[in-house]
Amino acid sequence: MARSSGSLSRYLVTRLLLVIPMVWILLTIVFVLMRVAPGDPVQAALGGRLPQSVIEQKRHELGFDKPLIVQYGHYLGGVLTGNFGHATSQNRSVMDIVTHEGAATLELSVAAMFFALILGLGIGVLIGRFRDSPLDVVGRLFGIITYAAPVFWVGILFQLLFVAKLGVLPSSGQADVLQNIDLQNHAHTHIYVLDAIINGNWDDLRNVLVHLILPGLTLGLLVCGVFIRLVRVNVIQTLKHDYIEAARARGIGETRVVLKHAFRNALVPVVTVVGLQAALLLSGAVLTETTFNWPGIGQALILYLNQRDYAAVQGIVTVFALIVVGVSLVIDIVTALIDPRVRYS
């Protein structure tokens, strides 16, 4: 027991130390990319609107007149202290953007994961159980198509069906105007679902949930293909094990065998893959947010890119990088806690 906990802590320390070069490289890539950008950041964001002297002053304030290496040091130091910079085009800090728009993206991502897990686990177990049947073929085809269809096209198709044809769901936004104002005025976490629950306003909650269905489902479909494949393969493999045979021999029904015995073991690798989907989810969120006019951080990124606000873009991309590294770290630790084999390798 003592030995195993020692190896676990050693694994955790190594894993934590590996984060440092990873973050450093990502930050350096971001910094270099934003510095080779055409033109001067301040000029690009404010040029034409302000006199040259003001721009010079702003350059000095933001430190753009200093040598690159000093700027680089400033940038790394800022990130270390949780200061991701300031948008040039608006009087907003990147941290402010992250807490507001980031909350909307988090809400969308959680909804997407919810749909992806339900669809992925459900379909995966079903077609793994009935392997090589027509159902299996349909299920696998579904997996391929969810991968091949661009996420924004799926979103448009949903809009055609549920908004234009059936008129049952809203086409865009995070909430209707009235509810939006209400939630903005009584904000606690900026996560609308949570805020509505905290406020005890069920009308708001219903409105927010209705707005969440289409974007969540669209982004969820993008991710669920991976789960379908994975769960199917795992169910097939687990069903070959001796203990499944033993369970069948004891006269346990096939449905119970699949759900109780095989499903649980097929679930372990899914935990790891959920974390690996973070990058895909963020890429998909940028497109989904644009499709559904969802006021999230992906849409904000595109907005600031269009305004050539390099400072804001750099800050947002930095946050993305930290999220990806952070999620993979958490997942690795969780996996190590669940699966002892990982820490011994």
Partner: protein
């Protein structure tokens, strides 16, 4: 997505074949495709047929397409209808017209040209950079290798579309010296390239590391072959068989990235060529009004081409990867006394 296809292939230790041309390695690597039978072959053929359809579209676009992609006037100088006012699919416009009064079917045809050009350039460039990088990094090892792997992992972890958007943003207008229609294609292709270099690097490097320790490579080294010779003659041939699989699967993914870039306005611009992702961006505003033809057809084109490329890639993987490959056994003809013996054996076996 692609990682599961990239298990380093077991290496073949065949004696050198008789035919030793420059492409002997590639030819040997592709031999299983010719031998393919059964389902993988049909999957491959269906995939190839779909891809071929779009290749034909791309090459003969001006002859197949009823109008030019940016044409909005008919021969009498009358403007085509806009999508919302009478742009329904009709005899004149099979797939209808879009918000800019251009023909949707022509956009599908010319769009395949844009798509395939971007994909081809992106795949070739990322191959040309990623494969040698992986070869040398894997063969020589050392601190350079470790640094490259770290950078590679960092880029691999990062959301790929974001990276592409950033590069596309930085490259905007950088290739204007190539002319109007090609500059957009070039900058889109380069921004996509950046995502896929790490994939080639990773697979090639890992395979090289396992090949490097094989006895025949060691033998070549012992005989005094220069590192360059060892890499070119002994390592490359056994590593290159992974490339077609990654290339086709990347091509499928690259098309999705291109469409994503176009949808966000950072891909090929409307003046530079027809691009399905951009068409979908234009169609987005009309969707809730019930205009379906401007979005359904370009989307279907993307899905079809991506599926085609994926089918080719996956069946190539099944056929080329020795671990997954199921060899077709040649039927053995037994005649005369041997046949009787065999029958007797079978009967005995059945009884026991």
């Amino acid at each position: 997505m692609t990682s599961e296809f990239m298990a380093p292939a077991a290496t073949t230790t065949d004696a050198p074949t008789v035919r030793r041309g420059r492409f002997a390695g590639i030819r040997r690597a592709l031999a299983p495709v010719r031998e393919a039978r059964g389902l993988p072959k049909w999957v491959l053929y269906v995939g190839l047929a779909i891809v071929l359809l779009f290749v034909v579209f791309a090459i003969f676009a001006p002859w197949i397409s009823p109008y030019r992609f940016d044409q909005y006037l008919d021969s009498h100088g009358n403007r085509f209808p806009k999508s919302v006012v009478g742009g329904h699919p009709s005899a004149k416009h099979w797939f209808g017209t879009n918000a800019l009064s251009t023909d949707v079917f022509s956009h599908i045809v010319y769009g395949s040209r844009t798509a395939l050009e971007v994909i081809a350039i992106a795949v070739v460039i990322s191959m040309l950079i990623g494969v040698p990088l992986g070869l040398f990094s894997g063969y020589y090892g050392g601190p350079l290798d470790r640094t490259l792997v770290l950078v590679n992992d960092a880029m691999f972890a990062f959301p790929s579309l974001l990276l592409a958007i950033l590069i596309a943003f930085l490259l905007r207008g950088k290739f204007s010296f190539l002319g109007d229609s090609f500059s957009g294609i070039m900058s889109a292709a380069i921004s996509i390239t950046v995502i896929y270099i790490p994939q080639y690097f990773r697979v090639i490097r890992n395979t090289v590391i396992s090949v490097r320790e094989e006895p025949y490579v060691e033998a070549a080294r012992v005989l005094g072959a220069k590192p360059r010779t060892v890499i070119a003659k002994y390592v490359f041939g056994n590593v290159v068989q992974n490339v077609p699989v990654i290339a086709t699967l990347n091509a499928a993914d690259a098309l999705l990235t291109l469409a994503g870039l176009g949808f966000l306005g950072y891909g090929v611009q409307p003046t530079e060529g027809a691009e399905w992702g951009y068409d979908l961006q234009r169609a987005l505003g009309e969707a809730s009004g019930g205009v379906w033809w401007t979005s359904v057809y370009p989307g279907l084109a993307i899905v079809l081409l991506v599926t085609g490329l994926t089918l080719v890639g996956e069946s190539l993987n099944d056929l080329l990867n020795p671990v997954l490959r199921r060899r077709q056994l040649l039927p053995v003809k037994i005649t005369g006394p041997e046949l009787e013996m065999a029958n007797a054996d079978a009967v005995m076996e059945e009884r026991s």
